[in-house]
Homo-oligomer: 353 residues x 2
């Protein structure tokens, strides 16, 4: 059970219109009906519990597949008339989930559903998509574009990414995580593409002006909030062959709770979690959000986590620095026990959901 500080008032994600438990119940009723295993000779699924990417063995090759959408961040893009950022997110939200199993990115297919196709909007999405694909070293393999005004309002952006494990690399699934391991975090650059239903409600109800900087910031709030998901694939690819790398996690929806998904038989003690970045502090203040909700909805400054055997930390840090993540740092360690804790904020979560 979460035991964070509970203020008297404050919004939760459920109150913003998204009920995590009802979507979980619905999903469970779907999965009860599906027998996931294919026919002989059609590839063999590899179990990857706790991960968003699925794994499939085809002959000697194992591929990883991840599918996700940009969610309601597109509504903010529309309000601001800026589409490049969410185009780039389309890549980031998926390839970071591939990185979280240690896969190298290969190809991506996108799905754009819209009420009315606007060539200017599509061109901007294309520019962002291109920037994301370059950052991830990923090819665009195809996509689906549909004008479905009866189905979607605004624009819906989704994609599926495919990755693989080069040169005998094995998937990194978190099973070898053990007490004593160090937890490294790589900073995020904002909320990426998670929690935007709640975030937009906070902006709306606090009457914040998206066109102006919040107090203490230089860029307009809207630009800060649109900043695209940081892409961690190059950095993670540079360390994924090191045997001391025991676990990887993309801190997306669910925040630090994502660590519990990774391995339920150890405790993740985030006793060196960095100071809350000003944008997240502003969100918490403007929304009257308790830390408990903040940390299970947003990444709160850390977008990707690596769990590393203690002796391997210096080499991992060196390689991360050379591959675009010089800002990685130790944010905690693994202990005996279960769950995840952020002691500086008085938080403890026992489970993912």
């Amino acid at each position: 059970m979460p035991s964070g500080r509970r203020p008297r008032s404050g919004w939760t994600y459920a109150a913003s219109g998204v009920d995590r438990s009802s979507i979980s119940t619905a999903l469970r009723s779907l999965l009860r009906e599906v027998h996931p295993r294919g026919a002989p000779g059609h590839g063999t699924p590899v179990a990857a519990p706790g991960h968003y990417a699925g794994l499939l063995r085809i002959g000697r090759t194992t591929v990883a597949v991840s599918t996700d959408t940009v969610g309601t961040k597109v509504i903010l893009a529309e309000e601001l008339g800026r589409w490049e950022e969410v185009g780039e997110d389309l890549v980031g939200v998926n390839v970071n989930d591939l990185a979280a199993v240690g896969a190298r990115t290969a190809g991506l297919v996108d799905t754009i559903l819209c009420a009315r196709p606007d060539p200017g909007v599509f061109a901007a999405i294309g520019r962002g998509l291109d920037r994301g694909l370059r950052a991830a070293g990923c090819s665009l393999l195809g996509g689906e574009t549909a004008e479905v005004p009866e189905l979607v309002q605004h624009v819906d952006l989704g994609a599926t990414a495919v990755g693989f494990f080069p040169g005998g690399r094995r998937p990194i699934l978190g099973r070898s995580i053990r007490p004593g391991d160090r937890i490294l975090g790589i900073p995020s650059v904002g909320p990426h593409a998670n929690g935007y239903t709640l975030l937009r409600r906070i902006v709306r109800e606090s009457k914040a002006d998206l066109r102006r900087p919040r107090k203490g910031a230089r860029r307009p709030l809207g630009e800060e909030l649109l900043r695209p998901t940081r892409i961690y694939t190059r950095a993670v690819d540079a360390v994924a062959d090191l045997p001391g790398v025991h676990g990887l996690a993309h801190i997306s929806g669910g925040g630090v709770r994502n660590l519990v998904r990774l391995n339920g038989r150890v405790a993740f003690d985030l006793d060196a979690w960095p100071e809350t970045p000003p944008l997240f502090a502003w969100l918490a203040a403007a929304g009257g959000l308790p830390d408990e909700e903040l940390f299970q909805t947003f990444n709160v400054g850390v977008g990707f986590v690596l769990i590393v055997a203690r002796p391997a930390v210096p080499e991992v840090a060196r390689r991360l620095a050379r591959a675009g993540a010089p800002d990685a740092r130790v944010i905690g360690h693994v202990r005996r026990g279960t769950g995840v804790a952020v002691p500086a904020h008085g938080l403890r979560y026992a489970s993912y959901a």
Copy 2:
């Protein structure tokens, strides 16, 4: 240029609210911005012009990836409160595009976006999904489920399928199609999941009762219209290693025009196209639809096409029959020239779009 018979009145797909040219323009402006090729060492895309599946070479393995949604057929599902059929479509619309490059199905990831999650609806989608996965021999690798009432009305169902080429099989891309080849067609079981924006408008404006059979039919019209996409993967997999199989096409959106995409340097003469199935005849009559529009929007009774060297036809037909398609038959042949013609209906299309 299409030269079909043009009646005085009749609806076109554009008039039903979907403007193919505007979505094409928007898509072109997106693709102009994207440099599709990935970084060295991240897999190599293989060109598959005219196909909906994308191909990617990873080491010695080539994977095929297809992404598509069920489109507005879900609105019909909602009106009728029946979700199994569109759950099954979610598999069919994608795996048939994999079959069209000769790939064997392996894994699928789904995306379900909804305004409000209903466990009963999700369970029914799951049952259909399971039936489709079994028919295609495909594993469910994962998926994304989101409650996004601000983005989607109803439910949006999308998926991405991954396939491969077993035992040294090469992709079948249509390049070896030559004059003299025979064109085999495998029947569809209805409109599958294409043309439903137009189809629903016809039903609505003709005031047809979805709960009752149309004249001459046994099942209620709604059930007929919901019937899930026939899955051709087992049949196609049984012939994809035969060198006489020169080309494959899934007849989806775009109808017989899909053949032109396959190879623009030959003419496809569909001089033995089967009689129009009663359901399509009813749609054409109820909507005052010209044949030109009917054949470029719906499959009109043929859901999958194989282009086969004349001497290979008997063996291909035998194998198809053993693998679930005893109803395949010759529906035309390849000639010198360009475009696709259905002489019995006075139709000729020079291009795909």
